[in-house]
Amino acid sequence: MMDVKRIVSRIEKNYIKSNLRKEERIDGRGLWDYREFEIKSDIIASAEGSADVFLGDTRIMTGLKYDVGTPFPDLPNEGVCTVMAELLPLASPLFERGPPGEQSIELARVVDRGIRHADCIQTKKLCIKEKEAVYILFVDMYVVNHDGNLIDTGAISALATLLSAHIPEGIIGDNGLEWTGKYLTGKDLVNELPIALTYGKIDDIIFLDPKLPEELVCEGRISISVTENKICSIQKSGAATFSIDEIKMLGKKSIEIGQKLRKQLNLTQHLSKVK
């Protein structure tokens, strides 16, 4: 709560901990409650898909661009989707200028793995001509305001961006690469709706969606990406340890909360209407 720099004051740490022991959070939430999500899609005119997502005050603006390139030799009829993240220095006094650091690389990779292992994108649909031309999709996430839990916010923003996609459809014709006049949309490309759920651990108490002061005090964190019925990716970070029972409990909780959240957010409303 105090202007957050790198150090959290002792009394704030105690405040967060003593309230967690009563199963209360500093902003009135329960241990397993999300802050409010707000999603606006297709807001960037220059991009082929985009989303502006708030989770509480944390804000990430993501955009999709494409390129056409040659496929990997071992996957001759599949395109590629890569995820990048930048923690903009304007988003927080905690972020410094310069090339992506550990935190932005972790954010990009965790979101990427959640999408990849959920088979979220039908990469075969990203093929224009086998062995010759495939789409390369760039999903670039920019953190605009940091108030904790970049991963869950990023995952939703990447997903909404892909759903809102309207990529020009290409074929290899007589004159090389040509436009069919139509677009590949989220409906064509998106198969699954993976959601990431991040939990913090302080003093043996585990809770969902850490706000920034909680995140800075956390001893450990774990992010679990889920589809409707399966777990597709897990990332544990921080020095604290989790018991086997805790992980089992979190796996179950993640699927349940994921199902509820998916219903609540109604993500398919962000599918592009262009055709």
């Binding site: 957050v4 707000e38 807001i43 960037i44 005119a45 220059s46 991009a47 985009s50 708030f54 005050d57 804000r59 603006m61 955009g63 999709l64 661009k65 494409y66 390129d67 056409v68 390139g69 990048m84 930048e86 903009l88 220095p89 304007l90 988003a91 927080s92 006094p93 200028r97 090339p99 992506p100 031309a133 760039f138 670039d140 920019y142 605009v144 305001n145 940091h146 108030d147 020009p168 459809e169 290409g170 690469l177 040509e178 436009w179």
Partner: protein, 256 residues
């Protein structure tokens, strides 16, 4: 490999009815929307939509200078960091800052410095971060305009605001407020900014060809247009505090 849809410029920049491609008259501005206080972690912040431009500006300062050797003992320093998102342009831009971004950072910084009192804050630094999320012509001008708002939002004493706009020539005609296509396909492009405390020019660049009559026309028209944009800046700052006194406001949802 080339992209599927090419970034081609249209032959004509005026329609049959005499209007510009987006329906504007020669002296008409694009729709402009501004907001302050959008980034809670910053000392001051603002957001602007100008045509399809979408730009954030955030101010951090006064604060310690990093790296320390850049600090000046007799005054504060102003540093502007202008960056564009990869997806803000038609052809995806590489994430790392390029030369154009560095040049614009410098030009915007020179344009903002006259309105500040840097000598009052020796040994400190003011950092302005500008992030273009969507670009549509005149980004350095829009960036200057939104940065001035962010400085005011941070409560930093200023002589006045500064406002910027790009004027130019397209298809032989002189116009105000170049859009992205007009900027790329036109014959002349003149970004200009005015600081209002002395009504003088603090940013001026030019590319293309013009004669002296052209230049005089550009400068006069620019000033007119800049006044209009300045009004929008002022109304944006004031609107945070209006409706006026006495109104009992019910519990509002937190501002974003």
């Amino acid at each position: 490999m080339p992209l599927i849809i090419k970034d081609e410029y249209p032959d004509k920049l005026f329609r049959k009815d005499g209007k510009r491609l987006d329906g504007r008259d020669v002296d008409e501005l694009r729709p402009i929307k501004m907001e302050v206080g959008v980034i809670k972690n910053a000392d001051g912040s603002a957001y602007l939509e100008w045509g399809n431009n979408k730009i954030f500006a955030a101010v951090y300062g006064p604060r310690e200078v990093h790296p320390h050797h850049l600090a000046k003992p007799d005054r504060g320093i102003l540093r502007v960091f202008y960056r564009m998102a990869t997806y803000s342009v038609f052809d995806r831009k590489r994430p790392a800052p390029g030369r154009r971004e560095k040049e614009i950072s410098m030009v915007v910084g020179d344009c903002l410095e006259p309105i500040l009192f840097l000598e009052l804050y020796p040994g400190t630094s003011f950092e302005i971060y500008i992030e273009v999320m969507d670009a549509d012509g005149g980004t350095r001008c829009a960036s200057t305009t939104v940065a001035a708002l962010a400085l005011a939002d941070a409560g930093i004493p200023m002589k006045s605001l500064v406002t910027a706009i790009a004027v130019g020539k397209i298809d032989g005609k002189k116009v105000v407020d170049l859009s992205g296509i007009e900027d790329k396909a036109g014959e002349a492009d003149l970004p200009i900014a005015i600081t209002w405390y002395n009504e003088e020019i603090s940013l001026l660049q030019f590319d293309g060809d013009m004669d002296l009559d052209d230049m005089n026309h550009f400068l006069d028209k620019a000033k007119e247009a800049l006044s209009k944009v300045h009004q929008i800046q002022l109304e944006t700052l004031k609107s945070k505090y209006i409706p006026l006194q006495g109104e009992i406001t019910n519990e509002k949802k937190g501002e974003k």
